[in-house]
Amino acid sequence: MNRPERSFERLRELFDRFLEMPSEDRQAEIARATQGDPALEAELRALLDHADRSATTFDNATQLFTGWTEPPLPVITGYRLHRRIGSGGSATVYLADQERADFTRTVALKVIDRIVDAASLRPMREEQRILARLEHAGIARLYDAGVTSLGQPYLAMEHVEGTSIVEHCRARLLSIRQRIELFLSVLDAVRYAHEQGIVHRDLKPANILVSARGEAKLLDFGIAKLVAPGDEDKTLTLNRAMTPAYASPEQRRGGRITPASDIYSLGIVLYELLANTIPFRIETTIYESDPEPPSLVFDGDRRWRKTLRGDLDAVVLKALRHDPEDRYASAEGLADDLRRVLAGRPVAARSDDRIYRTGRFLRRHRAILAAVAAAVVVALSLIPWRASRSSLPNELAMFYDRGFRDGAEKLERFDGAAARDSFRRAAAASRGTPDEAIAWDGVARAESVLGEVGRAADAARRAGASISDVANLPRDEVARMRAASYAAKHEWSKAISEFEELFARQPERVDVGVALVSTLAAAGRTAAADAALGRLRQLGFGAKGDPRIDLVEAEVAHQLSEYQRAAAAAARARASAQQLAATALVLRAERLHAEAISRLDHREQARRTLESLIERDTAAGMAREAAAARLVLGAVFLRIGTREETGKVLEAALAGLSAAGDDRGRITAHIYLALHEGKEDVRRGLAHAATAVAEARRIGDRWAEAYALSQQMVLFSWAEDEASIDATIQPTLTALRDSGNRYILVVTLGNFALPAIERLDLDEAEAYLSEAEVLAPRVGSELARGMIERSRAYLAETRGDLELAREYYTSALEKARGTGVPLAIGGFLSDMAWLELAADRPDAAASRARESIEVLTSAGDLREARELEGVLAWCDARRGDAASARRRLEILRKAAEDDDARYTSLIAEAHVAAALGDWRRAVELRREIVRMAMKLETRGAVMQQRVELAKALHGLGDHREVEKLIAELLPEAERLGLRGIARDLRKLLAT
């Protein structure tokens, strides 16, 4: 068989050689080359001859055989086809005239690239009938449909002349406003079709043509469904031939198509209009991640970028959510938000972001964020002490001397209600005389016993106003009444200086000392209040069994967030008051105790106490106390209650406190309501916060103002209202600085640092923390200092400086242990557990995790405790106990009820996979996590997860991918000052 082959090859070789040669020259050469083989020569010549004669261009060669390149025009009765005007993956479009008896019109004939049999035709006709009913200026009409002679379906449609919407906007250089307005007209057409029950299924710029006059028309509405009769909601695989860039994730997966799928496609088009580019690079994995906001991608005019930021980004991204449920439900919704953008009003798209964008770290520590306790400190503490039982000066001497024996006796028994009535009658009786002031003072004291701060203040004001015949009254009493009156009018400096002077003159007057402490606290000068309290105790004039000092200590301690101390003091006060059978004081002490322990996370216990307390307060006629107790209960419910009961009790508290004239209480109620409402409706929450701020300013309570501002900030962050956040940071810090309440200032600075860290605005975070650290030594609260250290630890961790982070966390933990606040202790322990996981120290991680779980479980934060199972799973995996690790992961997975929990569960799985060496799975999981992170988390978290992905890819040995990823991450890490992370990335590259 060799010879024929050699002959063939030789023939071929010679043919190729001589083909290029002009035929004149060939003859001699051929003869020479084929010498000795006549057969070969003859064949060669023949072949060359044929080749010469059929020398046409190769591209058209197929025409010789098949005529494929220009298939004949289809034959359709009633239409005269002119020429092909376009072709897509599954159809060809011709320009044709529709010839009917009475008229002729030009149409676009779309001939579908398949053959259908009779059975498929009926549903098609039905569908076509529906489509033909679509009559809208923005939708190209469907006139007719049928089958060609060959059996191919065709559609006769309105012939639209125009360019694609993207091309139109680009060529005409339309502004963003103009683009949006044009897009709105498109949305109107889509809305109309959706109302008729028709989904387009294939929206893309090529299907949205804009005429020279600037009018948009949608083409091929619902055609995709027509082309696949019987496929119901599934999309055609024929679509593969079309660009997949505009299809929604569910379409690509072959899932259910709904109007939301159209919204997605429209979102891509809108994105393209705004950002001059489509949101994805066309890769196979494009659908796996959410797009970058248009404003970040856009690299054109800077003015445009500013416009795009914020609301417009949010609108586009809402249309592009993966889950159809998360998108706009209708074209109308999208249109409404776009109109709001144009009008400069807040958009709906941003309200659902708030829960997520606070970042997981902050979400976990939300309790600490709002940990700044709003102590409902009594503005005046005029509770008198019984005279007869001690050698101390008779605080009620004045009343006895002036003939108000009845009232004084009632006061001695701490029978506030009876005393009040008595003194009221006396005040009425002595109107116009110098005694009136004294009577009113009596009323004030009686109300103080009952805890009716508002009414006590009113009475004190009236007493102050009625002071007429000064000479006739003991000098110190006058001074005291005046001071009380100032305090009642919120003229803090005057009140404080009067009380201080008085107290200096009469250090044995416990009631004055207590009044001083409580006034300082009410003015927000907590450190000073604490100092005064210390002095008071030191002086030791308090009689045994006198609950007043303990009561005021409980309130001051609460304001300092020293809950152990507050609880202890309240318990002591309650015991003493019980001894005295002073019901009113007992109730008050119980409330303070309940408030303190609720902060110590004994919430159920607190709840029970408070509920009973409310009943008893009401029974005793102590309305304000009952309202105050409700307020505390509301705070407890914010953590552990249902939405309904929280709302109810807070509203009741607000009403009660307002009626009782308790300003600070009212402000606090508004703040709690802001946090409560804000979870569902940010706008309502913001309204409450604004009210709180305004009220605090009105009464001049800097502490309350600062507190209200800091909580308002939390709501702004929920509303993603960056502008407002920016605008309020400084005023809040200023108010805090002015209030002299360093404690809250320090805590707030620590709090502001956290979101900055999550956003990777590390310089800003540094600034806050530095200022806080300067102030910290003078703040009485270890917890506050602990919180700064915790923020420092988080900053270090974000930068990748794990050793430094550990140091800070350890120190913070010590301080938290000191305060005994389980939420803080458990929270810090949890942070450390995750840190040790990052530092690859399984034993340390396990120990921290176990302790944290214990603490958090007993404190009732089961969610955070459960998440630590993830750390323990990783520890198991590191020890090689895969079975146990998987069991724990299963627990996590089963319990995951929302995106947040699923996210955490996936992270745990990814850690375990890496620990078990299952790099493939680890990579898979990390990719999914990055996807979710882009949707749920802040920049910091996304960066962190991408770094983890790089590590997993490295473990897998996919060096190409690792390099690619690190090439993106490293410069960013360096730019942001994430030293540790940059170091780790470089290490990965090197190995």
């Binding site: 072949l47 190769f58 197929t62 025409q63 055989f65 098949t66 005529g67 053959i115 060959l150 191919q152």
Partner: protein
């Protein structure tokens, strides 16, 4: 209609290098194509000649309509279909010729047909006899150089352009053009009764 999944599997096997996979595909689509061919022949259009163009067109549409088959594009389809088409047409031609043996049919010079095709710009018709001759010639060519035969098959029965065909064959378009020139000349030489 032919079942969907088996075709997918076969195609995948073929893509992964199992040349025999196409043979397994044939029975699945054979019935389909045979009925198309029969219908075509019955039509008024071209007498008793087969027009590969129309036939391939219709076959393509039908096979695409088989749903869920992952045809990447026309080229992919025709890489497979061209071989099937060839088989179907030739079989049909044989059957046809056997029927008409008595009547006899004019043998149109392929070369003439080509000339006519050039000047009139229409796809030339081939009658059954020509088709059988072509088939035989292709087998001969295949014995010498399989790639050349495949090229003709792809372009004639599949209607692929040089670029598409070269991509499928795994050679450069330049090589494919040279191959085409040679192969066509070689075939013409055989089919025009030079020998």
């Amino acid at each position: 209609m032919a079942p969907e999944l088996p075709i997918t599997e076969v195609l995948r096997a073929w893509e992964q290098g199992d040349d025999g996979a196409l043979e397994r595909l044939l029975p699945m689509v054979y019935t389909e194509l045979r009925s198309i061919a029969a219908r075509q022949l019955r039509s008024e259009r071209a007498g008793h000649t087969l027009q590969p163009t129309a036939l391939a067109n219709e076959a393509y549409l039908r096979l695409r309509g088989l749903g869920d088959v992952p045809w990447h594009d026309r080229a992919h389809f025709f890489a497979i279909a061209s071989r099937i088409m060839r088989r179907v047409l030739v079989d049909h031609a044989r059957a046809n010729l056997a029927q008409k043996r008595g009547a006899g049919s004019p043998m149109v010079q392929l070369h003439d047909g080509l000339d006519r095709g050039l000047s009139e710009g229409v796809a030339p018709a081939m009658d059954a006899a020509q088709l059988i001759d072509l088939d035989r010639a292709l087998d001969q060519l295949s014995a010498e150089e399989p790639r050349l035969s495949r090229l003709i098959e792809l372009r004639f029965f599949g209607g692929l352009g040089i670029e598409e065909a070269s991509a499928l064959l795994g050679c450069s378009p330049r090589t494919a053009k040279r191959d085409w020139t040679f192969a066509r000349a070689w075939l013409l030489h055989r089919l025009s009764g030079d020998q």
